[in-house]
């Protein structure tokens, strides 16, 4: 048992226990930790944004190194960035919508092509499987389930017709496939949450109390 001598580890350990106190009851210590967390992370983000984005991608190319021939265009994002702060002036906040408009335009477009290629075209290609693989019954059954599972799930998410008769049957099978996939996600999520706790307990036992020899 060799206790850590670093003040930082002690503070971190006390903050960890402060947050765990929420399990017993919501209390002032938890509230303080929570507000400290919000404050520190907001401060951290701003410093990070300056040194890792604003300086290297905007200030340096715009004002010092002129190597890249289109660097003068960087005055546009500089203006758009400043316009964002017009939200603080009662009259001017419509100006900030110019900057948000750039974001509102770029991301839907990136997602149309990204989802279109990665989640649509490639998945269609991935589902085109031979339904009879000579000499390999396991793969054949697997392919039937993969293709059948996908088609029935798509049919479940079909809204233009009542789920009756054959369509109803297919949708029902689709729900069974969905439920198996929800069960799998439930099992994985349990694993995820538990391992985060294990990670934190390791910090307390190893870094703080020094009772755990890795």
């Amino acid at each position: 048992m060799h206790l850590s001598h670093q003040i930082g580890i002690w503070i971190a350990a006390l903050l960890t226990l402060g947050i765990y106190s929420f399990l017993y009851k919501d209390n002032p210590v938890y509230k303080l930790c929570e507000h400290l967390f919000v404050g520190v992370s907001a401060g951290y983000y701003v410093v990070l944004m300056y040194f890792s984005v604003v300086k290297p991608n905007l200030l340096v190319p715009l004002f010092t190194d002129f190597r890249h021939e289109r660097h003068f265009l960087l005055v546009i994002p500089l203006l758009l960035g400043i316009l964002l702060f017009s939200r603080f002036f009662p009259k001017g906040d419509w100006l900030s919508r110019w900057s948000l408009a750039l974001i509102l335009g770029v991301y839907p477009a990136l997602r149309i092509t990204g989802f279109g290629q990665g989640d649509l075209v490639e998945q269609i290609h991935g589902t085109m499987l031979p339904l009879w693989v000579p000499g390999n019954l396991g793969t054949t059954i697997g392919n039937w389930l993969l293709v059948g599972g996908l088609l029935t799930t798509l049919i479940f998410f079909f809204f233009s017709k009542e789920h009756k008769g054959a369509l109803g049957g297919a949708a029902r099978i689709g729900v069974y496939f969905l439920m198996v996939s929800f069960g799998a996600s439930y099992g994985y999520t349990v694993m995820a949450r538990i391992s985060l706790l294990i990670g934190r307990v390791m910090f307390l036992l190893h870094d703080w109390l020094g009772v755990l020899h890795l």
Binding site: V53, P56, G118, E122, S181
Partner: protein, 279 residues
């Protein structure tokens, strides 16, 4: 029997909290060992994919996670850095999560010290860039040096030996995505893998692992590690048991307990057969 279940239902959930806490602390304290970690086909696939990368080539290591999921992502990040460095593969690290850069530094410095690799010559940490998918798309189109003009501490990319000749994904042999959520493996697959034909493997949190199996089956991913279990299996393959392997006993115990809770919870909720029992 039904009396047992009746008061089981009124159980204060803080007893359950206490049990979970003990089930995690006891194995870690006592080193009580339940079952060995055996690598699954998935972990072996991830390992073999990296074994196929020729030594001397350059890999993009995307550490897109933050301290919130250190327990799952950090062991993968460290194990893959060791594996790449042991095979003399050069590493360019980027992080699209604000909380990422210090974790990538730590991983690269630990592995770098073990395998005598020098920062700037064998690996570099280009740090964080805001913009999520836009960063990935820009790296492929405008190019990596224009999107990341400097490394994490401001050294211009032109002065970094490992970046020499690196223009875009044409010079990247493989992408290793250590991911917690958005932006992460899904966005790398959508914005880069299909567009620039770069092979990719992913080490992800358990919550997000199920969603990436379709990418694995469609050949967009060459390997996938899911959660702490995936990390532990990979650590065994890389012969560097660390945090993940150490935690698996507690993980096993906790899972058994929760499985029991599901079964017991349902039994306790069964309508009581004994006559006269209060409905």
């Amino acid at each position: 029997m039904s009396a047992f279940f009746a008061n089981l239902r009124r159980l204060d959930r803080r007893w359950i909290f206490l049990t979970v806490g003990l089930l995690v602390v006891v194995p870690l304290l006592t080193g009580f060992h339940i079952a060995p970690v055996l690598p699954s086909a998935r972990a072996r696939g991830f390992y073999d994919a990296i074994e196929k990368v020729p030594p001397g080539s350059t890999v993009l290591l995307a550490g897109d996670y933050d301290p919130g999921t250190i327990a799952e992502n950090y062991p993968m990040h460290l194990a893959v850095s060791r594996h790449l460095m042991r095979r003399n593969i050069k590493i360019i690290a980027v992080e699209l999560y604000p909380g990422g850069p210090p974790l990538a530094d730590q991983v690269l410095h630990i592995a770098g010290a073990e395998y005598k690799k020098r920062e700037g010559y064998d690996y570099v940490n280009l740090g964080y860039k805001s913009g999520n998918e836009a960063v990935m798309s820009a790296m492929g189109s405008a190019g990596i040096p224009r999107t990341f003009p400097a490394d994490r501490s401001g050294t211009p990319v032109g002065q970094i030996p490992v970046m020499k000749g690196i223009e875009n994904f044409g010079q990247i042999a493989m992408i290793v995505s250590v991911s917690a959520g958005y932006p992460g493996t899904k966005e790398w697959v959508q914005q880069v893998v299909s567009r620039y034909h770069v092979p990719m493997v992913a080490g992800v949190t358990a919550v997000s692992a199920p969603e990436y199996y379709p990418y694995l089956q469609a050949g967009q991913l060459q390997g996938l590690l899911g959660g702490m279990a995936g990390a532990a299996e990979y650590e065994v393959l890389v012969k560097a048991p660390g945090l993940a392997t150490r935690g698996m006993d507690a993980q096993s115990l906790a899972h058994i307990f929760i499985a029991l809770m599901i079964i017991l919870g349902n039994l306790a909720a069964l309508p009581q057969r004994t006559p006269g029992a209060k409905k």
